[in-house]
C-alpha cells in the first residue's frame, strides 16, 4: 500500500474521529454549563471540571478537523498530534487518579480487595474510550518521519 493511500485513510479516519471528539466536547460543555450529568451504558459525563474537559475535547476535535486539508503537511500533522496529546492529558490524569484512589481504604490504611477492584469498574469518562483511537496518530508520526528520512537519502 502506497503512502498516499495510507494518508488518505488517515485523513478519513481523523475526520470521523474529529467529529466524534468535537461532538462529545460540545455535549460535555452543555452538560457542564447546565450542571447536569449524563450516563449511557458504561460511559458517563459527570464529575469535577466537566466543563473544562468538554472545552478541551472540543478544541481537540477542532484541531483534528482543521487538519484534514493538506493532511500530509507537517503543520497539519502537528495539529493532529496536539489534538491527541490533549486527549492523552485528560485520559492520563484520569487513569493516574484512578490508580491512586484505589490504594488507600475508607477507614484502614489500605483498601479492601473488593474496594480496589470497585474503583476500576465502569462507567468511564469519554476520554478513556477515545484514548485507544487517538493512538493511531503514533503510526502517522512514524510514517511521516520515515518519509522525510527517505526523501533525504535520495538527495
Amino acid at each position: 500500500m502506497g503512502n498516499e493511500v495510507k494518508f488518505m485513510i488517515g485523513r478519513i479516519y481523523f475526520a470521523i474521529f474529529g467529529l466524534v471528539v468535537l461532538g462529545i466536547g460540545i455535549l460535555e460543555i452543555l452538560l457542564g454549563l447546565t450542571g447536569r450529568s449524563f450516563e449511557w451504558g458504561i460511559m458517563e459525563m459527570s464529575g469535577e471540571f466537566l466543563l473544562w474537559r468538554g472545552l478541551i475535547l472540543f478544541f481537540a476535535g477542532a484541531f483534528y478537523l482543521s487538519s484534514i486539508k493538506n493532511f500530509t503537511d507537517i503543520h497539519q500533522l502537528a495539529k493532529v498530534v496536539m489534538g491527541s496529546v490533549m486527549i492523552w492529558i485528560i485520559a492520563g490524569v484520569k487513569i493516574f487518579s484512578m490508580i491512586l484512589e484505589s490504594i488507600p481504604g475508607e477507614e484502614g490504611w489500605l483498601n479492601t480487595f473488593e474496594g480496589f477492584l470497585e474503583s476500576y469498574s465502569a462507567p468511564y469518562i469519554p476520554s478513556l474510550f477515545l484514548l485507544p483511537f487517538s493512538l493511531v496518530v503514533l503510526y502517522y508520526i512514524r510514517l511521516s518521519g520515515e518519509m522525510s528520512k527517505g526523501g533525504g537519502d535520495e538527495r
Binding site: F63, A78, I89, V93, W109, I141, G145, S148
Partner: protein
C-alpha cells in the same frame, strides 16, 4: 588590537562562511508543534489542556497522600496519642504544643505538634512535591518559556506591555528566586515594578498548593482576583513610576525530553529547602500565634482591628490570627483560615487578603537585598515604595473585593 563592532561581525561572517555548512533545513514535527504552542489560536487551547492536566494531577497526587494517609495518621493515631501522653493538660505549654484538648482533628487543634506538623508535613509537603514535579517537567521540556511567550502575546493584544512574564511564572514556584530573576530586566523601573508586583500578587507554590488542598473550589476565584489586581496595579504603577520599560525579548529554548537526573535533583533541592526553611517558620508561626492568644494580645488586636476587618474588608475579626501567621508563612495562614467558620465570600476575601497584605519573610528579605544592590537609597526606595504600594493595594483591592460582594448581594 581591538576590533570595532562592525569589524567583529564582519570577521564572524568570514569565519562562519568557512566552517559552517547548513544542510537542507528540514522542518520537523517538533518545529511545527513548537509553533502551534505559541500561536494564540492553537496555543490557548493547549495551555488550557496543560493547566487542566496540572490541576487534575495535583489533586490526585496530593489527595492520595493527604486524605489517603496523612489525615488518618495524624487524626486517628498521632493526635489521640499526643493528647494522652503530653503532660499538664490545660496548661499553657499544653496549649502551645498540643492545642485544644477537645479537638478531634489536627486541623482545628492549633497546637505546634498537631496543626503545625500536620499542615507542614501532611498537607503542604505532598502539595509542593506534586506542584514542583509538574512545574520542573514543564520547565525542562521547554513548555514553560513558550507559555510565557503566549501570555506575553496575549497581553500585548490587550494593550499591556513590558510585563516580564518569565519572573511571573517563576514566581508561581517561589517568590524569592522570582525576585532575584528580575535582575535580568533592563531598567530600574522595571525591576522595582516587577519585584513589587510579584511579591504582592502572585501566590507561591506552597500557598497555591494548600489552597488547592483545602479550598479547591475557590482557587479559581482567588486567582482571578489576584491576577486582575496584578494587571490593574501593574498598569497604574507603569504610569506612575518614572522611567522606561522597554520590550522584553525572550529566547525560546528548544523542546527536549526532561532528564530524570535533573528533575530529581531540582525536586530534591526544593524539598530540602522546604524542610530547612519552611517547616521551622510554620512551627514558629504557630508558636507566636498561640502565645499571642494565651496572653490575650490576639483578642485585643482583633477588637482593635475589628472596624477595619469587618467594616472595610468584611471578614470576621478572628482572621487576625492567620493574618499574623501570614507574615511568616502564607501556607500556614491559609490552613488556619480554612478552620475558621465563615461564609464562602468571607473565605475568598480573607485568602486574597492573606496573599496580598505582606510578602512572606523570605521574600521581604530578598526585596530589601535587591534594593541594597542599588545602595542605601535603593533600600529605602524598595522598602518604602513596596510598602506604600502594598498598603494602597491591600486597602483598595481588599475593599473592592468586599464591594463586589456587596453589589452581588452576597456579603
Amino acid at each position: 588590537m581591538k576590533l570595532t563592532v562592525d569589524e567583529r561581525w564582519d570577521l564572524i561572517d568570514k569565519i562562519t562562511k568557512q566552517v559552517v555548512k547548513y544542510g537542507e533545513y528540514k522542518y520537523t514535527l517538533k518545529d511545527a508543534i513548537a509553533e502551534l504552542t505559541v500561536k494564540p489560536l492553537t496555543g490557548i487551547p493547549i495551555a488550557i489542556a496543560v493547566l487542566y492536566g496540572f490541576w487534575a494531577f495535583f489533586g490526585a497526587f496530593a489527595g492520595f497522600f493527604t486524605d489517603g494517609f496523612f489525615v488518618k495518621l495524624f487524626d486517628n493515631h498521632w493526635l489521640p496519642w499526643l493528647q494522652g501522653v503530653f503532660p499538664g493538660k490545660g496548661g499553657w505549654l499544653y496549649y502551645i504544643f498540643v492545642g485544644d484538648p477537645k479537638a478531634d482533628n489536627c486541623f482545628e487543634a492549633f497546637g505546634v505538634l498537631t496543626s503545625g506538623l500536620f499542615v507542614a508535613i501532611g498537607v503542604v509537603l505532598p502539595a509542593i512535591i506534586a506542584f514542583y514535579l509538574f512545574l520542573i517537567i514543564l520547565e525542562d521540556s521547554g513548555y514553560l518559556p513558550r507559555l510565557a511567550v503566549l501570555i506575553d502575546t496575549v497581553l500585548h493584544k490587550i494593550g499591556l506591555h513590558g510585563f516580564a512574564v518569565v519572573p511571573m511564572i517563576l514566581s508561581l514556584g517561589c517568590n524569592v528566586p522570582a525576585v532575584v530573576a528580575t535582575r535580568t530586566l533592563e531598567t530600574k523601573k522595571q525591576r522595582f515594578m516587577m519585584a513589587t508586583l510579584l511579591a504582592i500578587f502572585i501566590p507561591c507554590g506552597a500557598q497555591l498548593g494548600i489552597m488547592l488542598e483545602v479550598i479547591p473550589e475557590y482557587v479559581g476565584l482567588v486567582m482571578i482576583y489576584l491576577l486582575a489586581g496584578f494587571f490593574i496595579f501593574g498598569f497604574i504603577l507603569n504610569k506612575l513610576i518614572p522611567g522606561r520599560s522597554p520590550e522584553i525579548l525572550l529566547d525560546i529554548p528548544p523542546y527536549q525530553m526532561p532528564i530524570a537526573r535533573n528533575v530529581r535533583r531540582k525536586l530534591w533541592a526544593r524539598v530540602k529547602s522546604f524542610f530547612t526553611v519552611a517547616v521551622p517558620f510554620v512551627l514558629l508561626g504557630v508558636v507566636i500565634v498561640n502565645i499571642m492568644y494565651l496572653t490575650g494580645f490576639l483578642d485585643w488586636l482583633a477588637n482593635l482591628l475589628e472596624p477595619i476587618l469587618c467594616g472595610w474588608f468584611g471578614v470576621p475579626k478572628e482572621t487576625v490570627g492567620p493574618l499574623i501567621a501570614a507574615f511568616l508563612r502564607k501556607d500556614l495562614a491559609v490552613a488556619q483560615l480554612s478552620a475558621i467558620e465563615m461564609t464562602t465570600y468571607q473565605l475568598v476575601t480573607s485568602v486574597v487578603l492573606v496573599s496580598l497584605y505582606f510578602p512572606c519573610v523570605a521574600t521581604f528579605a530578598m526585596l530589601i537585598k535587591e534594593g541594597r544592590e542599588e545602595g542605601l537609597k535603593g533600600v529605602l526606595q524598595y522598602l518604602f515604595g513596596s510598602l506604600l504600594a502594598l498598603i494602597t493595594v491591600v486597602f483598595l483591592w481588599g475593599g473592592l473585593v468586599h464591594l463586589i460582594w456587596i453589589i452581588l448581594g452576597v456579603a
